[in-house]
Amino acid sequence: MRYLTFFLSAGLAFACPLSASALDISGTSRTYLQSRQTVDSTRLMPLYEYLDFRAGSGDPGEVSFNFGGWYRYDLKNESPNGKYNDDLQYAYLSFRGERGNKTLNLGRLRVHEGVASELVDGAYGRADLLGGFGVAAYGGSPVETRFDTRRGDSIYGGRIFHGVPGLYTLGASYLDERNGNSAFRREEGADLWLRPASWLELQGMSSYNALSRNWMQHNYYASVGPFSGLRLNGEFSRVSYKDYFVGATMSAFTFPRINPNETVTAAGGSASYAITRSLTAAADYKNFSYRIAGRAGYYGGKLSYAGESFGAGAGFHRMDGDTDTLRYDEGSVYFMRKISAFDISVQGILVSYKQEINGVKDAYTASAAAGYSFSPKARLAADVQYSKNPDFNRDTRGMLTFVYHFDTAFERKLMKPKT
């Protein structure tokens, strides 16, 4: 909570004097009151407040402050991780240049640059340079689930790229993270976006573990179309476990729970066809082959309709693992309707496990939600969910949601000099 308060006040203090004479503050307050039960049948009633806003317009040449965070307090009983909890999702000052897409962010921020997809307490900068080149760099302290202290932790890296607008972008990226002053992760990557024709797009990334000196992952995606509403996609990925699952802070991803000698290659494709502008049919298939474990397949299809005030969809997928314990069928249907300021939606999900889990083979979830918009800014909604699954004979949960969007220009009054 003290982090939330500190970043909130510090950011606003910086943003206000740097902005123009009027300060725009726009954002959203979301309040959730949830009712759910734990596996030992304890009924919890957590109250959440999510707040996000931007102070400043964010326009080129301007400074803005961006904030997102939440706080939870249990009104009834206590969650397994305590009566209250909070998270500072992001809080940073941002400066955008008028030319060259220059950006400098300072604070708690998320970095997505090549191999980096990190939450960092620190700095991030990027800019377009001459001749189609560009550069990005970041550094600071990594924000991760605490598994030890943050003392001596650091992260830095960058990406350099070159592109011709509309044709290609090629990037090379680097990331170095230290934990307690020891080498934790050192990753290098190459990324690609290529669009040689308006109907063909290739994109992907390869990442290299510079500590184990081996490729971590290759992940590439091709998209062809649309041709009269038909779009085809192909995907390929290969992951080497001993090189990929490094720097995990959660035991499920550590060796030997994960077999370090395993490599998985996933290859597949999908086809979607827009029958009308609102009605789409799609089918997909993905094959997993392993160096040690065997193979698995995931395939299915869906049909969806998306109109202005009405939406509906149905889908079916099968996970076909090597053994019965790794097989299930999943089916889902949904329906949405908007009538004036009201909206309703219902959804049903059925998962049929090939082998019973806790004596249950078929797990299902049914949910219904209804909302009313008092204005474009305020919305009240409620939902209820009922499910039967291997952990709960009957699980009923519900949530009340109040969302308020604010977007206000505050005229800052200039202090008149004393006479």
């Binding site: 001459l130 760099a137 689930t145 044709l167 994109q203 999900i349």
Partner: protein, 147 residues
């Protein structure tokens, strides 16, 4: 130079270098906001016939959005606020995205329904798909069992 000094000096030095080099670039910066409001699932090619047409949020876009985010995140920022990303890409999150958006089942948010049991299968088939979101963060609830 100790580690703390490096943490400050390196990013500061790089940031300075970027701004010096970028001073030569003459192209105008991208607008902060899309000039017109777009529908929930935008089909960018309705209006754009250049590279932006590839940003069509077609049914498979959820699979590809990671590539765009890692290469041109500021394009995403023209329409999406930071909180839009933070709803799923969280440091620590207690409400599943599919629970936050019960009114939008068409968005195919992660982990609807009883994912507690399904994750045991998906996690064995392809643990690499779990790792980006739960490997180093957003795993407070995972740790309850995975000690």
């Amino acid at each position: 130079m100790n580690n703390n000094s490096k943490k400050i000096a390196f990013p500061a030095g790089l940031a300075s270098l970027i701004f010096v080099l970028a001073a030569c670039a003459a192209s105008m910066s991208m607008a902060a906001k899309h000039p017109v409001e777009v529908p929930t699932r935008p089909i960018c090619s309705d209006c754009h016939n250049d590279w932006r047409a590839s940003l069509d949020h077609s049914a498979d876009y959820i699979e590809r959005h990671k590539f765009y985010a890692s290469q041109q995140r500021q394009t995403c920022g023209v329409c999406h606020t930071e909180s839009f990303c933070a709803d799923c890409h969280a440091h620590k999150e207690e409400i599943k995205p599919s629970d936050k958006y019960k009114n939008a089942p068409d968005r195919a948010m992660p982990h609807p329904g009883d994912y507690l049991n399904q994750h045991k299968i998906d996690g064995k088939i392809n643990p690499a798909s779990c790792f980006p979101c739960h490997g180093r963060q957003n795993n407070e609830r995972c740790i309850v069992c995975h000690r």
